[in-house]
């Protein structure tokens, strides 16, 4: 039994950042977490997946070693060590959060929390004992989200042949044949990893293109790269039947009306996540939810119950770690009496770390069109960029969509090596409302991949130099 100024349910990127910042502002903070600290991001998402993608990238690179005069002998690919490495990286990061909690005097409460009143949480520890904790100033719900299967398509997660992204992160080998259902960021990343480790991958997407939330040009570019790497990309798919055994899975589907069928050893269901809103006592205190099941919040993260806040995946909007962290930070500032700017949900970057990477900020061309804004597009391919040629990664481009009249950067889309790093120039530009002219005025070093941004910007003004 303890009392805190701020009591947080969930130690993921939203919860732990909120905890650290609140503590730094002099508030007493308790964080209830049933797993290790770090949430999906650190344990079952961003971090371990990126570790595997690094391994996959190296595997791809080795294919070109001879061009650099490096002889490797026959290359063998073994998924298990890569998986173990990713687990170690994940654990290191989790320990890092634990260290930060200690340093900032945040109390970690291990166990499963259940809200019993707007100010109290009952936590059930591993030993089954229950303890009540009280929040004086704020009770923050940051319980995140979880993978969900596709029972409606006959693909209930079974942890042997029908897997979630959590399961594939601990596979001890790359399956010979694999199907990935859903070609969002998660689906594309794992298709990339397992293709690199020698699996025959079929990537199945219901939408007419992979990465359906990205700009159509990016989807097309990635699809071209995937096809080059022999990933079987199926778009506009409709699953018509599934047969699941404990050894293999057969999926019948139509591809643009044509009937097809694949039989694979493992299926990864990478189609969507559901907010963790069950069993945490929301009903007990009457926290209102949105139509889509997320907790409804104001722009100050207030739920329908006074003193109870929600941040991160469970509170809707983009289900991204960096969105959750920002919410946690802003909420802590508000609770600590600091001046805080509201979260700008229109300027949250989106990143997919496959090879080539895809990163974007702002609106897609389709969205700009739908809004009826007059716009101009500038585009520059990495094949014309010196630095990209030196690294041998010339796939992709930079695409800038700007307002025709004012030069406002409406959207920026990058496909290519290091796209997820380069995008931030444009995130900063958009956040500060720089127009294409200010981006052009900033000198870009040579030779760098970022020069492609400067060229795309110039192209949007109709004056590309290296045209």
């Amino acid at each position: 039994m303890a009392t805190f100024d701020v009591l947080i349910l969930g130690g993921g990127p939203a919860g732990y950042v909120c905890a650290l910042r609140s503590a730094q502002l002099g508030l007493t903070v308790g964080v209830v977490e049933r797993e290790a600290l770090g949430g999906t991001c650190v344990l079952w998402g961003c971090i371990p997946a990126k570790s595997l993608l690094e391994s996959a990238g190296l595997a791809e690179k080795l294919k070109h070693a001879a061009e650099h005069g490096i002889s490797t002998g026959p290359v063998t690919l073994d998924f298990a060590p890569a998986m173990k490495r990713s687990r170690a990286v994940s654990q290191q990061n989790s320990k890092g959060v634990e260290f930060l909690f200690k340093k900032n005097k945040v109390t970690q409460i291990k166990g499963e929390g259940r809200i019993t009143s707007p100010t109290t949480v009952v936590v059930k520890g591993a030993d089954g004992k229950e303890e009540t904790h009280t929040a004086k100033k704020a009770l923050v719900i940051a319980t995140g989200s979880r993978v969900r299967g596709l029972p409606q398509a006959g693909l209930e997660l079974n942890r042997t042949t029908v897997l979630s992204s959590d399961d594939v992160l601990v596979l001890d080998h790359a399956p010979k044949r694999m199907a990935v259902i859903g070609a969002g960021a998660v689906g594309c990343e794992f298709a990339d990893v397992f293709a690199a480790y020698g699996s025959a991958v079929t990537l199945i997407e219901v939408a007419p293109r992979i990465l359906p939330l990205e700009d159509a040009d990016c989807s097309a570019e990635l699809q071209r790269a995937f096809k080059k790497r022999k990933i079987d990309v199926v778009t506009g798919a409709k699953i018509t039947g599934t047969k699941v055994t404990d050894r293999e899975v057969t999926i019948d589907f139509t591809e643009n009306g044509q009937a097809r069928s694949v039989t694979v050893d493992k299926v990864l269901v990478a189609a969507g996540r559901a907010p963790n809103v069950e069993g945490i006592g929301l009903e007990a205190i009457g926290v209102k939810r949105t139509e889509r099941g997320f907790i409804a919040i104001t722009d100050r993260f207030e739920t329908s119950v006074k003193g109870v806040y929600a941040i991160g995946d469970v509170a809707g909007n983009q289900m991204l770690a960096h969105k959750g962290s920002r919410e946690g930070h802003v909420l802590a500032d508000l609770l600590g009496g600091q001046h805080a700017h509201p979260v700008n949900y229109g300027n949250i970057p989106s990143c997919t770390y496959c090879h080539p990477e895809v990163a974007s900020i702002g609106l897609t061309e389709e969205q700009v069109k739908a809004k009826g804004i007059e716009y101009k597009v500038g585009k520059f391919p990495f094949s014309a960029n010196g630095r990209a040629r030196t690294s041998g990664n010339t796939d992709g481009f930079v695409k800038i969509i700007r307002d025709a009249k004012y030069g406002e950067i409406l959207g920026a889309h990058i496909v290519g090596q290091s796209a997820t790093e380069m995008i931030h120039e444009l995130v900063v530009a958009r956040e500060n409302e720089f127009t294409v002219e200010e981006v052009d005025l900033a000198v870009h070093a040579h030779p760098t991949l970022s020069e492609a941004i400067a060229e795309a910007v110039l192209d949007s003004m109709g004056k590309m130099v290296h045209a």
Binding site: G337, Q338, H339, H341, K405, Y406, G407, E408, N432, E433, F434, T435, E437, E438
Partner: protein, 454 residues
């Protein structure tokens, strides 16, 4: 977080304000938007609105005190927040007053000779700023306001005018503002350190539009509803030359005067007949004159017009200003869409506006936006006078008193009730004959008041 409550410039010309009344006591909870106090500006009594929430922790001036714009007058903060540093700062905050301190959320009171609260917004809305409008004092560079070292970030400068003379604005915001003709120095920024961002420009534009909307309340389908509210008439070379030559001749507004004497026998009969029907039908001569002027203006859009420097604007609706004497000056509240209103509506509205004007309770939108004005000194026993045009309006009518005068009718001297009306005309807009024709129409109306019910 603590919010400093300053004496705000509630009109562009306001340099100091007298705190008339505190509406909140120390210890009262305050929500953003609550009225903290009433402040008497150079023109009206305005509401001072809270910009932050919390508890009113300190009131630093007494009721009845006059304070310079920009001075700290109160602090709103959390109940347990330490505000000693803020209150101690009072003596240091001697920054020169800025009209710009008035946030966009406050509808600034304006000098009655202006039609719009902010020249910037006015321009953005297509209304030209007028010559001679007192502009907010040029912003001299000033040393950065001293921030006590203990002040948390929330108490640091939060709007552009505080940022040491530099106006922080995003490149996009500057472009949008330039295109809309908005003066960026007039705006308050919502970005970091008070930086002006796109949102602020959009808000200013929306607020300008909202202001126009409140100033022109929707009326029951006016004749010609759905048509444009005004027509801009480009200047011909002849008109430009006339404007230039005449301005050189007399002052910036080349005015000439037309006087006509109207017979009010029938108006008097009408009033008597209506009064007989009951007190609710009682109308004054002035009410009938207002109604007649509004109706006549609809037939003479060339008189119901503004001079905008590079063009003339002829209005399709009549927003009639009526000068009202108040204890230490005069003010011209506006009867909007007067042409659509019945005599009874005009009578009621004129009475209400006059009362509120004398109590100095008019809101800026109630005394801006007239297309033409009327001034009546008849009740002071004045037979005839000339009124000064309220620019950019092109005319004003000066109404004298009703008097029994000898008149010749059929060769006989008879006693008639007559009234003199003098019309001041801006010659750049209205030529002699045009003004005379208008007065003829007005004569038809006033001498045959039944036309007003037609």
């Amino acid at each position: 977080m603590a919010t400093k409550v300053m004496m705000e410039a509630l009109s562009p010309t306001m340099e100091e304000g007298r705190l008339v009344k505190w509406n909140k006591a120390v210890g009262d909870p305050v929500a953003q938007g609550d009225v903290l106090a009433e402040v008497e500006t150079d023109k009206a009594i305005m509401e001072l609105v809270a910009r932050g929430a919390g508890v009113l922790r300190a009131r630093l001036i007494e009721e009845g005190t006059t304070t310079a714009v920009g001075k700290l007058i109160a602090v709103v903060a959390a109940p347990d927040e330490d505000i000693a540093a803020l209150v101690g700062e009072q003596g240091q905050s001697e920054s020169p007053p800025h009209a710009q301190e008035a946030g966009p959320t406050v509808v600034a009171a304006v000098d009655q000779h202006e039609t719009m609260p902010s020249p910037g917004v006015a321009q953005a809305l297509g209304v030209a700023p007028q010559a001679g409008v007192p502009q907010p004092a040029a912003r001299a560079p000033q040393p950065a306001a001293p921030v006590p070292p203990t002040a948390p970030p929330s108490e640091q400068a939060f709007h552009a005018a505080d940022s040491g003379g530099r106006t922080l604005a995003s490149p996009l915001a500057r472009r949008l503002a330039a295109e809309r003709g908005l003066d960026i120095g007039e705006l308050r920024g919502s970005g970091p350190q008070g930086r002006i961002v796109k949102r602020d420009i959009e808000q200013a534009i929306a607020q300008g539009a909202a202001l126009m909307a409140t100033a022109r309340p929707v009326q029951p389908a006016a004749p010609g509803a759905g048509q444009p509210e005004f027509e801009d008439v480009p200047l011909t070379q002849l008109r430009k030359t006339i404007a230039k030559r005449l301005s050189e001749s007399i002052g910036p507004i080349p005015t000439f005067y037309l006087t006509a004497e109207y017979d009010l026998t029938r108006v008097s009969e009408l009033r008597a007949a209506m009064a007989d029907m009951g007190p609710e039908f009682k109308v004054s001569v002035n009410d009938i004159v207002l109604k007649a002027v509004a109706t006549a203006l609809m037939q003479h859009p060339e008189v119901n017009a503004h001079w905008l420097g590079d063009r003339m604007r002829r209005f399709a609706r009549v927003h009639l200003g009526m000068a009202v004497a108040i204890p230490d000056g005069l003010i011209t509240p506006v009867i909007f869409d007067a042409h659509t209103k019945s005599l009874r509506q005009i009578a009621a509205e004129a009475r209400a506006l006059a009362t509120r004007a004398r109590e100095r309770k008019l809101q800026p939108h109630e005394f801006t936006g007239a297309t033409c004005s009327v001034s009546n000194l008849g009740m002071f026993g004045i037979d005839q006078f000339t009124a000064i045009i309220n620019p950019p309006e092109a005319a004003i009518l000066a109404i004298g008193g009703l008097a029994d005068v000898p008149a010749i009718e059929d060769g006989q001297v008879v006693v008639r009730k007559r009234m003199r009306v003098t019309m001041s005309c801006d010659h750049r807009v209205i030529d002699g004959a045009v003004g005379a024709q208008f007065l003829q129409t007005l004569r038809r109306m006033i001498e045959n008041p039944l036309m007003l019910v037609f």
